[in-house]
Subunit: 243 residues, 2 copies
Amino acid sequence: MVSAAMAKQPLEFILEELEQADGLEALQRASEQIRDHYGIDHVVYHWVDSAGDQYGCGTYSDAWRERYLEQNYLRVDPVIVGCFQRFHPVDWKRLDWSSKAARAFQAEAIAYGVGNQGFSVPIRGPNGQFALFTISHSCNDDTWANWTETHRRDLILIAHDFNQKALELEPDRTPEQSQALSPREVDAMTLLAMGYSRAQVADTLSISEHTLRVYIESARFKLGALNTTHAVARAMSRGLIVV
Amino acid sequence: MVSAAMAKQPLEFILEELEQADGLEALQRASEQIRDHYGIDHVVYHWVDSAGDQYGCGTYSDAWRERYLEQNYLRVDPVIVGCFQRFHPVDWKRLDWSSKAARAFQAEAIAYGVGNQGFSVPIRGPNGQFALFTISHSCNDDTWANWTETHRRDLILIAHDFNQKALELEPDRTPEQSQALSPREVDAMTLLAMGYSRAQVADTLSISEHTLRVYIESARFKLGALNTTHAVARAMSRGLIVV
DNA sequence: TTTCTCCTCCCCAAAAATGGTGAGGTCGCA
DNA sequence: TGCGACCTCACCATTTTTGGGGAGGAGAAA
């Protein structure tokens, strides 16, 4: 690992490199540069799509990448599972590795060259979008604790910019803005999402149930939804209602 | 506004102050310190609960705060609405202020002392948790553009630490880890959220509709939901399913 | 002024969802 | 080995939701 004195400089440089990345290959190179600048084993950006699709970019070996996809480790990997429930960047040591599947996964990961130490920054967007920026290394606990403490802030910023760039370069992942709902439609969807029946919603809004139905139907139409549950789900995932 | 030379120093100091905050009052003071350090008009942290409850902390006047709550501006405020749809920190100028309600809101906000410029950092957590860290100021566009460009990274880090601290101090807001759903329950909820009817879901999962009902009911029970739509909404807002 | 969207109300019949109860199997953990 | 969690299937009657009609008034935009 590079000395602390050297390690302090790269941030500006890295962020600028990232800004200039003009394609997914450039992003791949950026992850390698980050790895080299900091003198750590691995730098990885991992995107998990709302549909469960994933996109990865980083310095893990192809073998591991393939193995990961093939075994569908997405649902096993304690880093994913744990970070998905957390707010803040986390050291891998603080995750839950107790289950049998997690231990097996860990052993295999290390065999494939992933470091025994790791630090992951969760990143979230609207519509449940989720990504992880991870660094991994092989060293003892104290060394790692010092290093992460020193570079925590750098990593947050890099994670941020990395994610921003990845999104720019793959605009498919920022879905279309959908047609807005009228105020009454929003009311209706919101109350339905809160578990009210149509009768209750109509009562709450002081309108007839027939009128309410018109709103639900028009919301369903605007959202391209097949039924009420679908409409509510879409309204939520598009941020049109907050529950 | 403070000179650039002075403005560069405060970051470390601010972050340390934040680390040491030991109560919500301290957090309030921290926001005032940040404001003074950077010489801007306002610094605000705004939390929006999954239930629509809010918690605010910052330098806006009490009058504006009350007005905001009383008028339920949460659903009007283009900063909230816009940031809720975005990934990245955003300058208020880039938000959509075109609707009549938004313009009225803007005029009123300025009358209550909110600056004409603003920059907000959206922060997200698991289970649909959402917060904004905002700074606001009164100045012309160029000055503001320069300032935000210079301090963008600082703001991201401060936003991050501020949010972390706010969560530490108010653990109520990291809600009960909702009971996880079983794989089949997740399947069922996911397909329902995609608009499938019960019959279609049962067919897709190759199980009888009766069996499917058991999943839906047990998911509903685990989620404390009143009906299927409610269960899907809760599963979504808790991040248990992604659609 | 015309045109548009939004809000409000009504009927009927068919389809879907719900509530309650019961039962048998597998699998992992303690 | 036993407990608990999960997956699978079934029947009943009742309540709720849905689909397809039609219609008038208010207010904003063009």
